[in-house]
Symmetry: C3
Subunit: 170 residues, 3 copies
């Protein structure tokens, strides 16, 4: 098994190259109350990746019509995660190296007794967390100026899903 290197990671501070489509799976309105749920389908071209999905989430927020509420975003797999951090290329390399240092890819996980080789991915998902909540105020994600939403893929090159649920008042 070859040693993992920085080149194994797809790092994109601005966009999400493997984004395939969004799917509206539920939309309910009761007076001014809206619950809007989408699944994203993504297929990252490399096994490990950190990619920016802020614009996608903003688009979902726009489709929901919500003005004030909460936006929940989660990977639907346990070998991936989502997190909020800075969209700076050097930092993405720092994060990738740090994740690899604390939860290294390798052959020695007991989970591999099942035939899998992604034990590292399950542990990395603890470090980034697998889901997040973002506040929505005045029709926008109420994030600080440097806060961006990232999808973290730890076992890619196949189609995976995220769920985004926006709850709030129009």
């Amino acid at each position: 098994m070859a040693k993992k290197t920085e080149q194994d990671w797809l790092l994109d501070p601005r966009g999400c190259p493997g984004f395939e489509r969004h799917e509206v799976v539920a939309h309910r309105e009761v007076g001014p109350h809206v619950h809007h749920t989408e699944h994203y389908h993504v297929r990252l071209p490399r096994r490990w990746a950190l990619v920016n999905i802020t614009d996608r989430v903003e688009e979902t927020l726009g489709r929901s019509g919500v003005d004030d509420g909460l936006c929940f975003v989660s990977a639907m797999h346990i070998t991936a995660g989502v997190y909020v951090n800075d969209a700076e290329g050097g930092l993405l390399r720092d994060i990738a190296a740090w994740l690899e240092g604390l939860a290294p890819f390798g052959p020695d996980y007991r989970h591999h007794g099942t035939g899998e080789d992604n034990g590292d991915a399950h542990l990395k998902s603890f470090l980034t967390n697998h889901s997040l909540t973002a506040p929505v105020t005045k029709g926008k994600l109420d994030l600080g100026p440097w806060q961006q939403i990232f999808y973290a893929e730890y076992d890619g090159q196949r189609t995976k899903r995220l769920v985004v649920k926006v709850l709030g008042l129009v």
Copy 2:
């Protein structure tokens, strides 16, 4: 102080052996809007444990009657956590070993000046997080096929509580 070993952990990929009961602490309905809150009482038979509470949370969701919304789950102690990951026995052993490696049990925490010996537990709770939010869509937890909800106990053998709050539309 004996060195901690893998045998110190209770690892159950399917159920929660120490679950005692649920307690409905609040239930409010305003038209189609429901807020339903339960506390779980658990007493894990070992000091450290990773146990599956997905079925319990699904039961709470059923009692709430919510069709679409959010389900918040949290340990009510700072020496425990909840997380989403895979229900695979080998992986539970990997997670336990990883937690122990990054936040080891031992005598050298300053917190032990209070007479406690659970400094490791407070740090482990950062790694798994102490709470989570799960989306509810079409009457079910909107989780991926391999995502299960686990309770992580880091200072057990006494009764502890979790809080589960379901908010949404019937």
Copy 3:
């Protein structure tokens, strides 16, 4: 660059010395439903800090008038975090030392190519998480007896913001 020591941290188990003011940025009421949003302005007197903001969040909850719902708290910067843990001074020292061990301050981050020197802060924010959700039941934060809400500053000595959003029924 001097080596970081424990003395670099401001650790306050009871209060938040650098709290400047809260700002109500949005308040909506629709029948018994309330969405109340505040930004906190804080300026920690040291670069690294762990300070207790539970009382501040309880005050925001009081201003919202919410009886049952969720309270979302987040740093609006990626060099800070919020977390729930115990208000014990020795433990704060353990947490600071642990964060420093797993995500050390130092010159060798690629992020520093931008002129910044806070690469450690971005990584520490993964360990504590940058946001949290707390349940609100019967007009109070539904926390366990030892659970307190902390703000973690990793690049202070300048004004920063947090966002607190309370959603629920009066």
